[in-house]
Amino acid sequence: MHDPWADRLSEYLDDELSPAERAALEAHLGSCPDCAATLADLERVFARAASLDDRPPERDLWPAIAARISAPAAPRVIELATRIPAPPRRFSFTAGQLVAAALALVFMSGGAVWLLRQPPAPHAAAGPVPAGPVAGTSFVSSTWNGYDAAIADLERVLDLHRERLDSATIRVLEENLRIIDAAIDEARRALEADPANSYLNGHLVNSMQRKLDLLRRVAALASVAT
C-alpha cells in the first residue's frame, strides 16, 4: 500500500507544508521508519546537490567567443592600424571654393613672408639691446637640445627594433618623418635669420614635439611587436 506521506517528504524538507501538515507528517515520521529513512536520504541528495563544485570547460572557449564578438583572441601585438594615423579624408570642392581657397593661401603666404622680413622692432624705451640672445631664445635653444637628445635616443631604439616592424608601418613612419623633418629644417633656416622670432621658435618646438611623439609611438610599437 502506497504511503501518501512519502510524496510529501520533499515539501517537508523545503518547508513548503502548512503548520498543520508539518505537524501531522512529523507525527507520522515517528511511527514510519521507511519515511524517516527516505527523508534522511533526501537530505543527503539535497546536501550533495547544493555543494556541487563548478568546473570550467575542458577546452578554452574564449577564442571562439572573441571571434564572434569581433575581438582579437589574444591581442598580444598592438594592431598597427590603431597606431598609425588614418589616411586623410578625401574632400571635394566646387570651383568657387577652390578659387577662394587659392586666394586665401596667396594672401596668407604673402603675409607670412612680409612678417618674417620685417626688421626687429626698435627697443626705444628699453635702452641698448643685449649682445647675447634674449632670455626667451636661450630657453628655446635649451629646449631644442632636449628634443634633439630625446629624438636621438628614440631613433637608436627604433633602429634596434626596426626589423620587428612591417614594411607598411616603416613606410608610413618614413613618410611622416620626411614631412616633419622638412618643417623642422625650414623653421631652423628661418630662425638663423631671425633667432628671436617667437612664431618661428614655437613652430620649431611644435614640429620637434610632433617628431618626438611619432617616434615614441613607433618605438613602443616596435618594443611590443614579436
Binding site: R44, A50, D53, R55, W62
Partner: protein, 194 residues
C-alpha cells in the same frame, strides 16, 4: 538539520557571488565592456566561465554545454550595456544564462532520445564508483534525469531558486515544479543507495 545548514548557505550566497572583491571587479569590467573593451569582457569571462559552463552542463547536458556557454557570453556582450548595476553582475549574467538555456530546451528536446524515464535512466548509470569519484558520478546521475526533473532540480537545489520562480521560468505550475523536484530527488536517492 543538514538541510537547514545548506539552505542557509544558499540563501547567504544566493547569487553565488562568493567573493565580494570579484563583484566589485565585475562592476568595473562590465562598465568598460559596455564601452567596447573586449579585454575587460575577457576578464569577466575568466571569472564566470566555470559557473556558467557548469550550469549549462547540468541544464542541457555536456554535449551542448560548450556551444551554449559561447552563446551565453556572446549574448552577454551584446546586452552588457543593459546591465545597470542594480544587482550583482553575476546575478544578471546568471539570469541571462538561464534564459538562453531555457530557449534551447525545445530544439534540443526534439532531436534527443535522452529524455527517458527517470528510473530507467538512473538504472543505466555506472555502478557505484570509488568514493573519490562519488561527486562526478552524482553529476552524471543528474545529467541522466529526464529534462523536466533535471531542470527543476538544478534550479532549486543547485542554484537556489524558489518553486514560484522556477514555475515562471519553465512555464509550469508550482505544483508541477514540486512534484518534479521530488521525483528527481527520489531518482538520485536510488542511485546513491546502490
Amino acid at each position: 538539520m543538514a538541510y537547514q545548514v545548506y539552505r542557509a548557505y544558499q540563501v547567504i550566497t544566493g547569487t553565488r557571488d562568493r567573493d565580494v572583491a570579484s563583484a566589485s571587479l565585475d562592476r568595473a569590467d562590465a562598465a568598460s565592456a559596455a564601452r567596447g573593451d573586449a579585454r575587460a569582457f575577457e576578464r569577466i569571462y575568466a571569472r564566470h566561465v566555470a559557473r556558467i559552463h557548469s550550469l549549462a552542463r547540468r541544464m542541457i547536458g555536456p554535449e551542448d554545454a560548450d556551444d551554449a556557454t559561447q552563446e551565453i557570453f556572446v549574448r552577454a556582450w551584446t546586452r552588457i550595456a543593459t546591465f545597470r548595476g542594480d544587482a550583482a553582475f553575476g546575478t544578471w549574467l546568471h539570469r541571462l544564462a538561464i534564459n538562453v538555456l531555457l530557449g534551447r530546451r525545445a530544439s534540443l528536446a526534439t532531436h534527443r532520445d535522452r529524455f527517458i524515464e527517470a528510473d530507467a535512466a538512473i538504472a543505466s548509470a555506472p555502478a557505484r564508483p570509488a568514493s573519490t569519484d562519488l561527486r562526478m558520478d552524482f553529476e552524471t546521475a543528474i545529467e541522466r534525469l529526464p529534462s523536466g526533473a533535471r531542470q527543476v532540480l538544478v534550479l532549486h537545489d543547485v542554484e537556489g531558486y524558489k518553486h514560484e520562480e522556477i514555475a515562471g521560468m519553465l512555464g509550469i505550475s508550482t505544483g508541477t515544479s514540486k512534484s518534479q523536484l521530488h521525483r528527481a530527488r527520489m531518482a538520485l536517492r536510488a542511485h546513491l543507495d546502490r
